[in-house]
Assembly symmetry: C2
DNA sequence: TCAAAAGTGTTATCCTTACACCCATGT
DNA sequence: ACATGGGTGTAAGGATAACACTTTTGA
């Protein structure tokens, strides 16, 4: 039967995401080891969300807007210091990062998961692929091989951006990330990404997957955008999240035919070429509509 | 600062779903009040999932197959007996209900949420609609009215099966379900559905929403099916979950072109008319593929 | 013979994908 | 002039929704 006190400590963990300089970034509260904003659920927190907002504000001075629950972790050997069991209720939060404020404390997704960026030449994946194949050959070959192929889009399969957590899981099991128990040293951190406190890196991977999935059917990108923006900036933001380039015309048609945005009438202080029209998000549609969002037209 | 002991009790709750006699059903462990299988997370549970399986086996003698995490609740005034705070980590489980075993203890979704069944004439919704409109008129009219219209598919909007939790939430706020603090008695239980322990009914609604959403892009229906089945049975099962009728030919084409099933070569012991071919699920595709599932072709 | 469910063929429409091209600005 | 990013038209292909129809059994 149950032992006397099966009390557990409940911790709230935040994956706060913003986009800055072409990369989505997560808020951290310390380097070495990198650490996410987090704190115990307290009796005086009316709700878990309220508690989470509290901790993020305390630890990073940031007031959160959009917040949703991610997942609750309690598995593995999470009884950390031998004492009580620890449960982590994790949340995803989205926020606009004002470029003027800089981004110290905000770590790029693609520093954490270099293989997740497919906008470049896929250098990290090129290094990892032979390692994955070697791991597959070791044991249980058939299963491992198809698992790698499916999650990493090998052998002519599609790369699915939202499978980030599954890819992390494979790399973890294959001992290709530093925090893995089977970690086989040898790969540089530019390929494997850095270690994070506890399983915070797994938690971020979960957030990456959720956001990439959600952006395809709900208009959540706008939580990451400034009040007004050009369509080019909007597309770059989605591309940063997806880690993929999108087809320009199709992206625009999707955005416009869903009436997600409206013109402000102003033009952007241009960067490169021709000045662009400025748009703003039509917040009304959050009430008006249930389904529909920014679908990703695939391909360059 | 934190009070001395912010310990919380963590409870695991299961929404176990099976389909029997044309209706999806959830496993309950008591009537009056209806109660879901649940129990505290114990130190000797290696993982929360393991603990959950344990409780369901203990309380209902059922070994679970497919299980996924649903959501973690801690909000509202969940400090039930005034003492410690209670957190509920909820799970969705799918299982095949052998028709020979009967279905005692299995309560129909549509007894719990009569308005969610759109295969009939929508009698329950017809009663609720004027009540909802009255609630909308009371206060904050514009917002409430569009909220009702969006969630319940009024005023020519689409009914989206997966919005079950949002609909429950509206009814709760509108005092149209017995457990609501503003419950305005007057509607019979055949319209409002019965009361359940704590917020178990909200938890089931969450499960309904999740399953209805997931069935559209992952081949999870098959977890609810017997080892072999006819396409008609498969379609009925999806219709039971979705609470909607589907277009036969389109449903079949979808299933077949995705290679979800293969013929067994046998024919069904027929019920009504012409005997039907028997099929089995191609389990391989769970490894082979990441995306894709049973899309719902809408309309009768 | 009829009801009931299985099973098939075909068409119209829309959405996605992709190609090709023009426009306005700074250097 | 040309590089850079903004902005548009349109056609090919595939998926979806819908219609109508035939087949095989039991009562």
């Amino acid at each position: 039967m149950a032992r006397k006190l099966d009390a557990v400590r409940t911790e709230l963990v935040a994956v706060v995401v913003g986009v800055y300089d072409g990369a989505p970034r997560v808020l951290t509260t310390s380097a070495a080891p990198l650490r996410l904003p987090a704190g115990p659920l307290r009796d005086d927190h009316r709700t878990m969300q309220a508690g989470l907002r509290n901790w993020v504000e305390d630890q990073a001075g940031l007031r959160l807007g959009y917040v949703e629950q991610l997942y609750t972790f309690a598995d593995h050997d999470r009884a950390r210091d031998g004492s009580e069991r620890m449960i982590s209720v994790t949340y995803l939060a989205l926020t606009w990062l004002d470029p003027r404020a800089g981004a110290s404390g905000w770590v790029s997704w693609y520093e954490l998961f270099p293989w997740e960026d497919r906008r470049d030449d896929g250098a990290a994946l090129a290094v990892l692929e032979p390692e994955l194949r070697a791991w597959a050959r070791e044991e249980d070959t058939e299963r491992r091989a198809t698992r790698c192929a499916v999650t990493f889009g090998l052998d002519g399969r599609d790369w699915l951006p939202e499978m980030a957590p599954q890819r992390y899981e494979v790399l973890f099991e294959a001992g290709l990330v530093p925090e893995s128990p089977d970690w086989r040293d040898g790969l540089p951190r530019e390929i494997t990404g850095p270690w994070m406190l506890h399983d915070h890196r797994r938690i971020v991977a979960t957030g990456v997957g959720r956001l990439r999935a959600k952006i395809q059917y709900r208009p959540v990108v706008f939580e990451l955008m400034p009040p007004t923006f050009t369509l080019g900036q909007l597309q770059s933001c989605v591309e940063a999240i997806a880690g993929q380039h999108l087809h320009k015309q199709n992206f625009r048609r999707l955005v416009e035919q869903q009436h997600l945005v409206e013109e402000t009438g102003e033009m952007a202080a241009e960067t490169g070429g021709r000045p662009a029209r400025l748009f703003r998000f039509r917040r009304e549609i959050l009430d008006e509509r249930a389904a529909g969002g920014t679908k990703l037209p695939r391909g360059r």
